[in-house]
Amino acid sequence: MNYINSDLKVVGTRPIRPDGVEKVTGRALYSADTRVAGMLWGKILRSPHAHARIVSIDTSKAEALKGVHAVVTSKDFPAIKSEEAFVGEGPMNFRDLSDNIMARNKALYEGHAVAAVAATTPAIADEAMALIDVTYEVLPHVIDVDDAMKADAPVLHADMFTAGVNPKPATASNIAKVVTFKKGDIDAGFADAEVIFEGSYTTKPVHQGYIEPHACLATYNPDGQISIHASSQGHFMIRAYTAKLLGLDMADIRVNPAEIGGGFGGKTLIYLEPVAVALSRKSGKSVKMQMTREEVFRGSGPTSGASVSVKLGAKKDGTIVAAQQVLKFQAGAYAGSPIGPGCMCGFALYDIPNIDVLGYDVVSNRPKVAAYRAPGAPISSFAVECAVDDLARKLGMDPLTLREKNAAVNGTKTHYGPTHTNIGYTQVLEAAKAHPHWKAPVAEGHGRGLAAGFWFNIGGESSATVHINEDGTVMVATGSPDIGGSRASMGMMAAEVLGIPVAKVKAIVADTASIGFTFLTGGSRVTFATGMAVTQATEKVVDQLKARAAQTWDIPVDAVEWKDGKAFPAGTNAGAFEPLDLAAIALKQGRTGGPINAEVSVNAQGAGAGFGAHICDVKVDKETGHVEIVRYTAIQDVGKAIHPSYVEGQIQGGAAQGIGWALSEEYIYNDKGQMENPGFLDYRCPVASDLPMIEAVLVEVPNPRHPFGARGVGEVPIIPPMAAISNAIKSAVGVRMEHLPMSPPKVRAALDAAG
């Protein structure tokens, strides 16, 4: 059923989330908040070297230390054969995932796990780690993507022969894969162009920066039953990957989802759980593990750093006729950067007849990259949106007008193949043009920038159960960890379908033993896919409620209708019966057939793509190079905002992360390939005093594939900020910042160079 044009009573309102009180009182239990009596503390020993052969590991002294109950190395994990998969929302090989959580032959990055201990106190665990003797043969390392592609670069994997090249190369390199996307005839396009702009851009690796470090509590029982308590973006993924990496049956592993303190894509992989289970198995006790902030930076997957070049060709009237892009992404220690989406997203916003995109997936000695909000797209759009802006300048055109003129619309064929359908980009640009921010005069000394972004959003597998309690109140259970308030939206959709107040509906996140398989929380999929499962399950429950009323009244079921939380006889012919509400029907549930509930599992398809446009005003301090964000507006098509506050929250949060990526965040490496700023002091995320209010404007172009018209919203907002800010800086002081982050020393240097 489709509620897109209905009069909605609950969906679209802003109730207080069901898990809110426990979060503001400190009662909510996150990954590290649970303890069991007699548990051990597990810690991981990590490589100090960016690239080294592990010659030997001697754990005997550590094992002998009083208070140490188990020590594990890669010997305690089965050898996993090469198996390509889609892991943690990106391509990865299970063999690589196994190697990542515990190095086998080589340490491939500073922070790579080489051993782990479990001891009665954290202090003893630390002492034990110091007693583990690892002999390394230090090898030359390489970090930067351009360096890693050079012919003389140290090679990480002797069996890496670039895929996607014909013929296959004979020598191993760090280039895992090459991808290309073409549309039309790029050479003819440039020949036809009257104005050309070319730019080269670089971005540094940045971390998702979730405030909650990875943590878990694992118990291996003597009968082989395992329980894991951990936060994640997908407890079913924890179960699956733990089973895979340890060679166990999934039914023997039960994962209980703790509340999660941020993920943004970084918690779609696993790092600790299989290690904790291995330690628990060896010691016979529960093992708790918790990464320090330093470990999160050194040992968990951030994004790619990248090099991107863009060339655009246009007619004098602003019609873009040719667009070319070359992207080189760091994958980290193993293949699998988001180069595919990076290649697809940059030009997806434009209707250009001739496009040529070339992308490289390149390994280097840093942690394997993990997904980070619209993986690949922010980097790609940084380059494209800066180039489009400079093209506008060359053409003497307003940047919004240039985008409008070349905007992708329904029917635009993308360069990666599919034709856009049911998109809302022009509506977003119209909303930007009409917005007071765009119309306001730019203050003296300030500069204004505009940039846009696109993300596919995904659907996928979700399960949901809806139960009617014996008193007529309602339980909704799903398998989607709640990162941003999704429980509220699930309850709201169920309440809407039932026609009851949302206060009568309780939404929970069920563990892996209590609900059907559900793919992870990410890809902006939960409101779409899990919402679809919840809606369908609720509709099935409504069918049952009608059937129970029919039985109670002894009339045919098609003579019953459901409205506003009650069963009514459909018309006077059906009989003059008083309506029956949920409580009345539930009271008699046994007599009418038993408990009333439904479970639905879907593999949701047709997730609506999202577009965003951001407007940013900055003020540049010419003396210090500091860039102040003076005003920020983020406009996005959200399909239908189920709970507008949480939709706004996603947009504001994504924009803030993009602002950090633009202005201050980066991994700083020394010449040994070690990260020099693995802490929040020197890895500078935006703080409250760095930002103004962020106005989120919700444009609702419904996605017909979702019962309420919702589109995914969480990822799009991180895409436009970097270019919006670079464009604003250019407007303010006339210099183009092409290298991220646009931190004060870099801006100052650019101002100096400009004279």
């Binding site: 296959k168 595919g340 993986p375 990666y416 193949g417 599919p418 034709t419 890809g523 398809q605």
Partner: protein
Amino acid sequence: MPKVVLSSGSASLGLTGGVTEFEVEATSFRRLILELEKRFPGLGNQVEESMAVAIDGEIYQDAYAAELRPGSEIVLIPKIGGG
């Protein structure tokens, strides 16, 4: 017979010898995979594991039943994830 386009952004080109457009007797994604595997051994599996299919612009991932109609635009693209 529906016409299927293999987006050039995949490493599958090696398996097809550079061919990117096929006519395939298939009305579902599942049938398509089986037909491609017959025609280019290894391609069907690769498509199943690492690609999504965009049908008239809508993206389907891991959906055997996705319907392929003769007039539809059918493009195979790399799988999409998210963060």
